[in-house]
């Protein structure tokens, strides 16, 4: 019985070793990225590749109903606020969508409205902003 177990264990170990070797072979197979272009003409791109270096990002702004009409300037900028992407006069109660043309490497934007300021992330070419601030629930 012990011998049988030993044989079984050895067989499993060998199978695993073979699997690992095989996986390693797969890892070494040439990928698209490793197939380096030697000149511009030899670049291989997919049919739907977008050559733009900027993205059109939809910013959805969810308005906040206020008891008085509040109008202020909405500024959309880089996180460090050094680069301003959008400036517009905005009524706080208005919900709207606007499109921003942003470099593709921009992942987050800062939306400022008077004293309200939030960093929002861009998910799939869409960013969402509302005027609410984080609150902690009281124990119920």
């Amino acid at each position: 019985m012990k011998n049988k177990n030993l044989i079984l264990a050895t067989a499993i170990a060998l199978t695993l070793a073979a699997s690992c070797t095989k996986l390693k072979e797969v890892d070494n197979s040439p990928s698209l990225n490793q197939n380096k272009a030697t000149s511009f003409k030899t670049i291989k791109v997919s049919d739907n590749f977008d050559w733009n270096t900027s993205n059109l990002v939809k910013l959805n702004v969810y308005g906040l109903n206020t008891l008085a009409k509040i109008t202020n300037t909405m500024v959309v900028s880089s996180e460090d606020q050094k680069i301003v992407y959008y400036t517009a006069n905005t009524e706080m109660s208005n919900s709207f969508t606007t499109e921003l043309t942003l470099p593709k490497n921009v992942k987050n934007i800062k939306v400022s409205y008077g004293s309200i300021s939030k960093v929002v992330s861009i998910q799939g070419n869409t960013a969402n902003f509302d005027y609410l601030t984080e609150v902690t629930d009281i124990n119920e």
């Binding site: 049919d47 005027y131 009281i138």
Partner: protein, 513 residues
């Protein structure tokens, strides 16, 4: 006549008084922001955003805790007799009307209840009034001497109405105040549920200004945008600048052998650009101010350059100011856009060689380091969407209708008007010679123009000012991660054009002298 005027004035005053009296500042804990699902945290966040203040107070939707609707407020245990240390709710700043401040309250159980205020067992609501003081923290001055304390009575777990008359000294005042409701008590572990808070008065907080009282903004040109936000504080017509690229110039690079493949050094024509979309307080476009700088010519062709404003029809343009383009093949309308074009099209220059001082047009300009450097000349001009009185004869264009992605630049190869080359994916103008599409290496199709049969472009647009390849040097030898960006379908090195370590081969990049 005097009598008539008096009656008229009295009527107006009557209406105003009526409106002031009719206004209330209230919360029933039920509201939430647009597009947000009602919940305890979202509803209190909504009220907080509207400048209500809460200390040791949350919202609850537990059935036994609700006074009315689907949500009520709930305090921490009321075992603190201190009005500041206990649970509290502060209203936004408001101009009080007359009548009673009311709220509904009940206890969740009978623990620590009693009939004597400030004894060892009692539960109470205390209402105090905070005047505005610009020098104080949050603008909250010292409490007025008027206050009101309501001892919560048996049956404690039943909803009861707390009512407090606004003192005559501040009723219908032009000054702003907050009302602070403290939930105080001693003994037992017992929380209050609160709902339907109503204060007669006019809301006077500004959620976009740290919830301070609304104040008269400084707006010199009276356009509705306060001076501190207005890029043109003395110009009623203009309010905001919106630059693209936001910082510095962008770079357009063309290969002008289209429809055949070229040498892909992407320097046949290199153009720097930046534009500023100036908008008014209604967020309509007043004008777009352009700066276009031809930087290099690496071609034997003498190319022209222009752009379309996608989405904008020619009639929407009031005028083009500052351009002096002339050529036998160019015909402009009276508003400065190219004639016979449905989409507004502006030809910036007709001859790159003339602009860059290359009359021979053989050796190129600023592409060979051995040759003399020619300092580029910037062409500045404005595309106006309205006149100086703010009138847009054919309708205003909203800033929403025009994004930088609508900027559709192109070159006119060797000044043959129909031979126009755009960025990949961008549609041509009505002047294009469509017979060229599909010839040689071009694989343009309706909706997907200016790509080769292997999906390669003839033009690139980078939102930064970048240097370009030396003449005849393949672009991917200069920008080392460009090919990886393209072949990874844009996943890797989306910043391939940045000046980072191992991103560029400066040996083959033309250095501006």
């Amino acid at each position: 006549m005097k009598t008539t005027i008096k009656i008229f004035v009295a009527l107006i005053l009557g209406i105003i008084n009526y409106n002031i009296n009719a206004q209330t500042v209230s919360t029933d804990c039920e509201s939430t922001a647009t597009g947000v699902t009602p919940s305890t945290s979202n509803n209190i966040a909504f009220d907080r955003a509207n400048c209500w203040g809460f200390g040791a107070i949350g919202y609850t939707n537990t059935s036994g805790q609700i006074i009315s609707g689907g949500f009520s407020a709930i305090s921490n245990s009321m075992s603190n007799p201190s009005t500041n240390g206990a649970a509290w709710i502060k209203t936004p700043w408001l101009k009080p009307g007359s009548g009673n401040v009311t709220l509904k309250v009940k206890m969740e159980n009978t623990g620590g209840t009693g009939t004597t205020l400030y004894s060892s067992n009692y539960k109470a609501v205390r209402i105090r009034i905070i005047p505005y003081n610009s020098l104080a923290s949050y603008g909250e001055g010292t409490f007025l001497s008027d206050s009101f304390t309501y001892l919560i009575a048996s049956p404690y777990t039943n909803s009861q109405t707390v009512s407090f008359q606004i003192p005559s000294a501040i009723a219908n005042s032009n000054n702003v105040y907050k009302f602070m409701m403290s939930f105080i008590g001693a003994g037992g572990n017992n929380r209050a549920n609160i709902d339907e808070i109503v204060i007669p008065g006019t809301y006077w907080s500004n959620p976009s200004n740290s919830c301070l009282p609304m104040s008269v903004i400084v707006d010199t040109d009276s356009d509705g945008v306060q001076d501190s936000d207005d890029a043109y504080p003395n110009d009623k017509l203009r309010a905001y600048n919106n630059y693209y690229p936001e910082k510095g110039n962008g770079t357009l690079m063309f290969e002008d052998l289209w429809p055949t493949l070229g040498d892909y050094d992407f320097n046949d024509l290199v153009v720097g650009y930046r534009f500023n979309t100036v908008t008014n307080s209604d967020n309509n476009i007043v004008e777009i101010n352009y700066e276009v700088t031809p930087r290099a010519i690496g071609a034997s062709f003498n190319n022209g350059f222009g752009f379309m404003l996608n989405n904008i029809i020619s009639e929407k343009i009031y005028s083009v100011v500052g351009l002096k383009t002339e050529a036998g093949w160019l015909n402009n309308s009276s508003n400065g856009t190219e004639a016979d074009q449905k989409i507004a099209t502006i030809i910036v220059f007709t001859s790159a060689n003339a602009i860059m001082g290359n009359p021979g047009g053989t050796s190129g300009v600023n592409v060979d380091p051995k040759e003399e450097y020619t300092k580029p000349t910037t062409i500045s001009f404005s595309v106006k969407f309205m006149d100086e009185s703010g009138k847009a004869p054919n309708g205003a264009v909203s800033f929403k209708e025009f994004t930088p992605a609508n900027f559709n630049p192109f070159i006119i190869i060797n000044q043959e008007r129909g031979n126009e080359l755009h960025l990949p994916g961008y549609a041509p103008s009505e002047k294009v010679n469509s017979k060229i599409f599909g010839t040689e290496a071009d694989n343009s199709k309706e909706g997907n123009y200016y790509k080769s049969k292997t999906n390669l472009p003839w033009a690139l647009n980078v939102p930064e000012e970048i240097p370009y390849s030396i003449e005849k040097i393949d672009f991917i030898k200069a920008y080392l991660n460009f090919a990886e960006w393209a072949q990874s379908n844009g996943k890797n090195y989306s910043d391939w054009y940045e000046n980072k370590e191992k991103y560029r081969n400066n040996e083959v990049i033309y250095e501006t002298k």
